[in-house]
Symmetry: C2
Subunit: 349 residues, 2 copies
Amino acid sequence: MSDYRIAIVGATGAVGTKMKEMLETSSLPIKEVKFLASIRSVGKKISFRDKLYEIEELKASSFEEMDIALFSAGGSISEVYAKEAVKRGCVVIDNTSAFRMSEGVPLVVPEVNKEALRQHQGIIANPNCSTIQMMVALEPIRKKYGLERVIVSTYQAVSGAGISAINELKQQAQDMLDEKTTIEANVLPCSGDKKHFPLAFNALAQIDVFSDEGYTNEEWKMINETKKIMSDDELKVTATCVRVPVMSGHSESVYIELKESDVTVADIQAVLSEAPGIILEDNPDEQLYPQPLNSVGKKEVFVGRIRQDLDVKKGFHLWVVSDNLLKGAAWNSVQIAETMHEMNLLKNK
Amino acid sequence: MSDYRIAIVGATGAVGTKMKEMLETSSLPIKEVKFLASIRSVGKKISFRDKLYEIEELKASSFEEMDIALFSAGGSISEVYAKEAVKRGCVVIDNTSAFRMSEGVPLVVPEVNKEALRQHQGIIANPNCSTIQMMVALEPIRKKYGLERVIVSTYQAVSGAGISAINELKQQAQDMLDEKTTIEANVLPCSGDKKHFPLAFNALAQIDVFSDEGYTNEEWKMINETKKIMSDDELKVTATCVRVPVMSGHSESVYIELKESDVTVADIQAVLSEAPGIILEDNPDEQLYPQPLNSVGKKEVFVGRIRQDLDVKKGFHLWVVSDNLLKGAAWNSVQIAETMHEMNLLKNK
């Protein structure tokens, strides 16, 4: 009865490829998969659990026989096709920002707010990569000690900007090592913006386009999504989002202020060491702290460098790292599907 | 009368090389230069203003005929030889951390606290690279509006760890681009520590060794040096220091809280645009913000992404970038010498 037919929209992308991998090892009972992409990729073969599939062209009718659709082909594709999929009885788990802040669309990190899934009306939004890992790290602390304020500075990997950005960074790095005088930049910091800058051996304090108050869209996403996921409009959140020359694995320097007093570093370590989806890597004596390079291919969020602020007793600093393509995107999406299955929120046709 | 004889200690290092370059174009009247290094480099030739000099072995007697000595050969060398130089009548400008927190040793960023130079007893300390650029950016704001609190997360380049670290990063980057399975790491994050990790396409939340309260020495330097330079023990400062795969150019995500209310982003931009040693690069509409790659070879500190905190009215965020080898080290040292000359604090034998 409950074997699902699942479509991946944007199957050839950086995230789509990882969605396939996450589904291959998923506990979700799967009857059929369908790989959808733009006309360019149609006919290419993708293997799934030892079977070869041909990539099909994305059309409204693609969803007719499907139960679940995982979207990661850009916001404009989701805006057009997510509703078509829902009309045809699909549950959509959308990895773009198209519906994240829409009312009636649960924005879900399973470790944090899976109960919100019960309110879905067909579309569930997967939060922004940099938001997800911060939520996993902060929710257990918030639940136990209350959370007053968050200030985050990110160190974000290039894979969040897609395969073309990964290739651009590789080419730039090679050209710089070869001491070429001209370094080409056509994608980063943001493919939709006017100017492009090299990222290799550089750091770009712009992710997505600029918006209100001098903040970028990426920064607004972290701010607004955090409040929605934690259901706390009063929570103080500010973000500075920076792209660094890392292939995969986002890092975050997070400052928090708790509501409760008299909390120690050991208390926070104890809470996090038992929290779901977290690996505590926090031992200065052994130089143990999370590193983006070590996070690649892992589903967990790594937390370390936990320190009390030197001036504000309720203030703490954390270093939070995770594979942005997995927990930040593909794994969180598949995990939402698994969670919905466990909660009996999925049907099949 | 006032033509100086200047020695550079550590002349072959990443900073020593830049000290030579800064002296070559300096306004300081120079009669003679002496390049000192370890026995390994003795006999090698260095050109200075079209004249060739042989590197000499560092000895106590090296300073006998010298007026000024610029040290950048590691703390242990400074500990032994700085006092020998002072005994012989030299003014020492020391770029290591050996004497920075010592009483009677001015810790100077000329734009901020040049008056402290009058109290010197032979040794003047050059602050830590990441501290200097933050001081240049924050002092004009502090002077006008008062400063209550600083939280900084750094994105530090590898050249601060010396030439061996630069070469290691290049080799690691090439090996990773070539998809080699073993990536060697023998220097970073900190040559004096037990374990070494790759920095290429990675981010390491450790600079220098770990110390009290889970903070690294680099973090303590930023905290303690800031209070000393600004002569404000009550100032709240906390730092998270992170090495990123950038060759030169430190970046900093700085959060500040002012004492005064009703300050706007435009006010801060106006103050910084007229402040010494600062180039304001802050125009989101034109995607103008500081980039470490663009800072290389420049003496100034670049400031941009100035935003009001979304929750705390007196809170502001800044992105501060500078060439760590120049303003962060060699230029600040030579600038101290120029400033002392202008203040009539230098003598020659």
